[in-house]
Amino acid sequence: MEAPLSGSMTTAPERWLTALLLTCLLAGCGTKQVVVQSEFPDPVMNPLPLTLGIWYDDDFANHEFFDEASGRAESSWLVNTGQAQVELWQTLLKGMFRDVVFMNGKPGPGQMNPVVDAVLLPAVDELQYAIPSHTNVKVYEIWMRYRFQLVTTGGEPIAEWTMPAYGKTPTAFMQSDEGAVRLAAIVALRDAGAHFATTFTRVPQVEAWLNSLPRAGATPVQP
């Protein structure tokens, strides 16, 4: 009777080969994790003559997106953009406004915070992604929808609006799905910064507020 194939019967190269094959087979089933990290350029623009406060809540500063695989052949995705979000908005806002101050706590009645003209509270409402295996188009895409609140230090609303951002990157030789999604996310973040920088003063509620300020009303601010 022939002995069953067991650990003791296999040679070392065969074991390695089996392990390699198993790894290859299982590679498609795990979660693909992307941590988006990047440096962003300072915006080239005349700063608005305002002191802006910023408050990032935990959901924003640690923002991550998880998409569970719908089938065995697909992978789950975990895209962490929190660190890059904070990096982008800090760099952008410091270039857009004369002074930027980070708040001690979320603006509201009784909360002690530095004196500023207004406080910006950014949030990521939604994030979607698409990869070539989903769309049959040879680009990786990231789409985000931001929600911004501009409030007084006491927490009273001045303006609230949403803003989309989109980024894509083409497929490239020897580029992994994770690397391409990371690049697409960086393009989307740059797009968010560009969109915000060029439209902030044109948001109707923001425009009305800027015109109501004594110093801004005299000389309308342009991005």
Partner: protein
Amino acid sequence: MTPRRLLLGALLVSWLTGCVNATVDQMVFNSPTEGMGDASVVILGRRHASDYETEPGFISCVGKHIGARDPAIRVIDELEFLNALYPWFEPRTAPLRPADLEKLFAHRDVVEKFATLQTRYMIWIDGSTVRGDSAGSMTCGIGPGGAGCFGFGTWSDDASYEATIWDFTQRAEVGRISATASGQSYMPAVVLPIPIIAPVQGTACDSVGDQLLDFLSTAN
């Protein structure tokens, strides 16, 4: 023996590339009349289309091609330029027509940045390389005795690019170049797969680069 082997290898590699057909069209509206001096050139990819994107690698290839053939022409790296003028040349905000430059130059900081970079020509490249029809089949196997493949595969690649040249001093479009290239690649496999790749994108890069070089060298 080693040099002979190297020569044989080089000959084999050159023989193992697929055939590529390339066509180039050039239209120059305003031929350069004066030298570029210390001015620089920037080559940027158009990235507005939803279903394709001009490959950053292609833009880099054209820039390197020009820089290698004529070191007197200073080509600014695409990312360096985009970062230096952020957020005005992102896909959402980039000027689509030379007339849009006037609006951009209304910003004092942008004008100062351009003066620092000394950019005279801006070259926009729009297009992509796509994989066309493919045929054939190949099977690969692995066993305790070894591994190998058997079969034959073939596919075609098509590249189509258009370069538009803007002159900052005239605030006008001064030239347009289009290049198309197509080629068939093959991969026969008897134990080992042997890729015979047609350098379609590389040929398109050389074609666009040569035409741009012709234009810019006249200005130089």
